[in-house]
């Protein structure tokens, strides 16, 4: 669709207008980490953010979410459901890998049977993507065919093309509708912007040190299900939930009730397949009693099951799990190892 | 401490807000002390709700936190005076546990008045009543405990 140019100072004005009219979630720096927070001041927003500690999936799939509450009065039972009402939220500053993750989540939540809670939030959100400006040692998005400068999945996508200017790509009608209101802030696309973007892409891709091939992996993995490799790699695994919670595509949840007396609520919250009680049956039996089984499950899910089930890769190469795993379990190494085993 | 007119917090319904105190009392001393307050008709504020435990050493700090999570404004734990424990040594453990726990709670931002531990013997009905009074006064001054309340 359209593409325009916006100068950095104008970008701040744009953010200011966003904030005035919308609920804006954007990356800010907190104790040295990048996190998505509701913002009130444009200056707080990181315009070239880098990798956030948590992916922005929480906007659509919060860690804890009340589904409904109930109340009993006499014989009467009242239920109140908490599907987000229409409201306009701008999710600002999403990188291409995380943009891809939305497609992965959509496959899970918005296909039939549709998840009303997720879908409502998804529909209420305008996404502003931003191209990467640097590559971290753990990044490997290109393995999944993702370009660090492409905004697929965003409504609007920004790319810093240097000299204080951003290339603005309007990718959806919704994006267009949004920007129309602030037309005065933009300049027309200039020659060389697209070239600058490509150059940037090339330089970024060059920096991605590790390249792994994944697209045929899911077919091959079945044969190594029982391989002792899984036990070996699980030896150092702590069994914590870091990798799953920082993963932009992990989407497991548990549903619990919290009630006392005649009222209460049902909520859902993230769960992790690394946790012992994730597969624990009421009987006490646990089909994945060993950590190796649980860790194996996670990698099978990322590299095989997701593709089989939804026809889209379950990993986007964001590198968060690699960076944050306390014991350096590196999915890129796993991919390499798996390839060597089959 | 008295409460100024301006300090009075009101609830949504407009009634004056009254603090809610959950009290864990050991069966042999403090619960009996509270019974004695009753037998002696010593009046005290109706803000306290009592849970009977065999010994103050049965009180898990998690119960205390639970009460705050459920919206209690204050929590009281009362047991026999050290040396007088029905179970010989229980309250010595209570003392260590809850000293550390109270200090920890205060460290993470709870006001000291929120969590009180007192030794109340079976003959100290008056002391029990006074403890409740003091607590209610202190809590009224602080206002409702909203910080960790999930209600």
């Amino acid at each position: 669709m359209d593409s325009k140019i916006i100068k950095k100072d104008k970008l701040l004005s744009l953010l200011e207008r966003f904030i005035a009219g919308y609920h804006v979630l954007a990356p800010v720096r907190e104790d040295g980490m990048l996190v998505y927070r509701p913002v009130g001041i444009p200056g707080d927003v990181e315009l070239n953010p880098g990798r956030s500690v948590l992916p922005p999936k929480g906007r659509f799939f919060p860690q804890t979410e009340i589904l409904y509450s109930y109340r009993i009065e006499g014989e009467k039972l009242t239920l109140e459901e908490y599907v987000e009402e229409a409201r306009q939220v701008i999710l600002f500053g999403v990188h291409p890998c995380d943009l891809r993750s939305f497609a992965v989540l959509d496959a899970v939540f918005t296909e039939e049977p549709r998840d009303a809670y997720f879908t409502a939030r998804r529909n209420n959100t305008i996404i502003v993507g931003v191209s990467c400006s640097s590559v971290l040692p753990e990044c490997f998005c290109t393995a999944f065919g993702i370009s660090p400068v492409e905004g697929n999945g965003a409504d609007i996508h920004l790319t810093d093309i240097g000299a204080g200017a951003y290339l603005v790509e309007v990718l959806t009608p919704r994006g267009k509708e949004l920007l129309q209101k602030f037309d005065s802030l933009f300049e027309d696309n200039v020659a060389g912007a697209e070239e600058a973007k490509r150059a940037k892409e090339a330089s970024l891709i060059k920096k991605i040190s590790l390249s792994v091939k994944v697209n045929d992996l899911h077919e091959k993995m079945a044969s190594i299900f029982e391989n002792p490799y899984w036990e070996k790699i699980s030896r150092r695994c702590l069994g914590c939930g870091v990798c799953t919670y920082v993963c932009p595509t992990c989407h497991c949840f548990d549903i619990m009730d919290d009630g006392a007396g005649k009222a209460g609520e049902r909520f859902r919250c993230w769960d992790s397949c690394l946790f012992r009680e994730y597969t624990l049956h009421t009987s006490g039996h646990n089909p994945r009693h060993a950590l190796a089984q649980r860790l194996r499950n996670r990698f099978f899910h990322k590299l095989s099951y997701n593709n089989q089930r939804y026809n889209i890769e379950g990993c986007v190469g964001c590198g968060r799990c690699v960076a944050l795993c306390p014991v350096n379990i590196d999915i890129r190494e796993v991919i390499g190892a798996v390839r060597g085993l089959v | 401490m008295s409460v100024n007119e301006s300090d009075v917090v009101t609830t949504a319904e407009g009634a004056a807000w009254e603090p809610k105190i959950v009290a864990f009392l050991c069966n042999w001393c403090s619960y009996a002390g509270a019974d004695l307050a009753g037998v002696s008709r010593i009046k005290y504020p109706a803000n306290v709700r009592i849970i009977r435990v065999p010994c103050s050493s049965r009180v898990n700090p998690q119960f205390v936190f639970r009460a705050f999570e459920r919206g209690a404004d204050g929590v009281l734990v009362a047991g026999c005076h050290p040396g007088d424990c029905h179970y010989v040594t229980g309250n010595y453990y209570t003392r260590r546990r809850l000293t550390l726990f109270k200090r920890l709670l205060e460290y993470v931002g709870f006001e000291p008045e929120r969590f009180i531990v007192r030794w109340v013997s079976a003959s100290e009905g008056q002391r029990f009543a006074e403890t409740v009074k003091e607590m209610v006064d202190g809590l009224k001054h602080l206002g409702p405990q909203k910080r960790v309340s999930r209600v």
Binding site: R236, V242, V322 | P61, T99, Y107, R150
Partner: protein, 321 residues
Amino acid sequence: MKEITEMLQQVAARLFNEGLEMFIGYESGSVPAKARPYFAAVQGETAALVFNPFCEHNLAKYLVRFPNAKTAVVVKGCDAGAVERLVKERNLDRTRITVIGVPCGGMLARERVLAELPQDGKITAITDRRDAFVFQTSKGEHVLEKKAFLLAKCLICTQNNPTGVDLMLGKEAPPVGETGKDPYARVKEISALDPPARAAFWDRLMDRCLRCYACREVCPACSCTECCFEQAVPGWQQGAIWLSKAVTLPDNLHYHVIRAFHVAGRCTGCGECERVCPVRIPLMLLNRKLAGDIDELYGPTPPDVPSVLCTYATGDRDEFT
């Protein structure tokens, strides 16, 4: 560092000859300036063992996973207490464990090191020069002053040579902690705030806890077979569990306050909880608070008592009268 690495490899090889079944040490990580736990199960796997200033992990808790095997483990000064604690609480059979001590010149903060080293330089060797680590890289030599690059916990370290080990490698390391640093300085600062400010300080931190339980899983004092916080209750009694699975500020605070209380007097101060936290919650501020209070109120706990809360003195300070 090279000497220690070589010694480790030699010792591991010797132990396997003597019937060892598992050697727990470190290997190089998948990214620069990183090490990670390593498990050698046979003689042929010992060559990967390393020791360098990125071996920050406390390996002691891994021992619990091999209850029936003859196991050796590498410990630094700050890790040794964890082995002792696990043995004391019957999680380990000390007789089947060989504890191998390494002298520690302090562990480096990876982020700061990477920022200092040239981006595409490959680290070829690291030498400990008492006040600094010298990095040989493909782009030249870099001297990293310890004062500026060590982990915060190393700067207040008082125990960089392990005790209670079966085998000590290399020479005793000179102290790394800066003298005169008060380990409780930050605790005191927080304590000096008024309650609302203290609450605000903690709320901001606790609010971002993910409850990934990395702090618990890595903690050598969190040695329960099943943590009380993972005990689920089915059916209509679902509410009657210790802690809701919901990740909310009250629940997060509950989790961390109680976890700190559960390890009170048992925490060995290794700081692993803080290291593994993906959202950088300074958890040692809780543990240190308790350690300080315990020290002030009760002094050292006799060695035959499981923890400070399993004993008492009739004359203990009474703040409840």
